[in-house]
Symmetry: C2
Subunit: 184 residues, 2 copies
Amino acid sequence: MMDTKTRIIESAIEIFGEDLSAPLQKVADNADITRRTLHRYFADRNELVAVCRQEIESSCKKAMLTAIQSSNEPLVQLESMLYAGIDCGSKYALFKRLHQGEDHYHNPENKNCADYDAIFKAFHKIIIQLQKQGKVNSEMSSQWIQVLHRGIVESTVHAKAHTTKSEEEIKKLAWASYIKAISP
Amino acid sequence: MMDTKTRIIESAIEIFGEDLSAPLQKVADNADITRRTLHRYFADRNELVAVCRQEIESSCKKAMLTAIQSSNEPLVQLESMLYAGIDCGSKYALFKRLHQGEDHYHNPENKNCADYDAIFKAFHKIIIQLQKQGKVNSEMSSQWIQVLHRGIVESTVHAKAHTTKSEEEIKKLAWASYIKAISP
DNA sequence: CTATAATTTCTCAAAAGTGTGACATTGCAT
DNA sequence: ATGCAATGTCACACTTTTGAGAAATTATAG
């Protein structure tokens, strides 16, 4: 069984991902503990939300960086980044929302923002390389491709829950669709 | 200026789409009215949520049916369906969630469910036709294509808010990416 | 078995959110 | 300008959510 604190955080990410204002009772139920226990680990709602944020930041960031460093071949890097996003599951959508939501004030002084920037910069570089190699459509901006990337990740995460296909199979399907979408 | 009642509904759909338990104050703020005014149009939260649901059902359904009926050419139909989804904006994501969410009990007796089924059946038929014509990859199931469709729509809706590109331009980009993704 | 750490149960008070009545203000058609 | 309809302001009671104390229960290590 998972560590209680970790279980609370995972549950909270699940619940808050769909409903940030959901009562803490829901989070507690989802984690199979009492609300009282939850409050022993987290002083208040804000603290829990903050910790979730931090957990999302660090685990998505780590997954993305590992993917980027997995190879020198941009096509392999891009494929790994797609799979990394899918593996992050619901966290990935939150990660994006946290940095792109309309309420978010982007500030490069902030470490989280800086790291996010670094990841997107690397993504941008990968796309430029692929465009130079003629493997990616040069008429598509890397912004659009990033948006598409997110869309494919989220679709695949949704699909994982509603299909009989194996995880491996569906990931390959996602990659096939994605690379064709952005090919010249 | 939009009709107040309509504005409240649109605001509520926006807010509830991301956070179903959000305080009504947020909906009121978003609609630029007081909470008191909101309560003059909707007796309570449940009523507002129900009306939102109905509005989503009917407007998405209408948009989709119009798209399907826009042509006899399956490729044109598919393109229209994509644009229709984009035009529905945040409603489209909700529409899908309402019918595919894990809490939703699908019941063909229910008119909403039946209509949803009819739309998906039409979509399925269009894909099959395109596969027979060799315009769509036969190795992709129509389920996967439907998931992808949703992903592209949601990405595009997100992108609309964060780009300087014209709506027309971004829609064309979405269609170009989509059709390539599912081409043989 | 025993000590002790973690969790639950029950409780309660403070805070936030909800719905409404009474009246003031604004906007707009006549 | 007048009057009506829509909206805003403020005050209020009510409900739900929140956070925490105290004691009982359960699990766990030694």
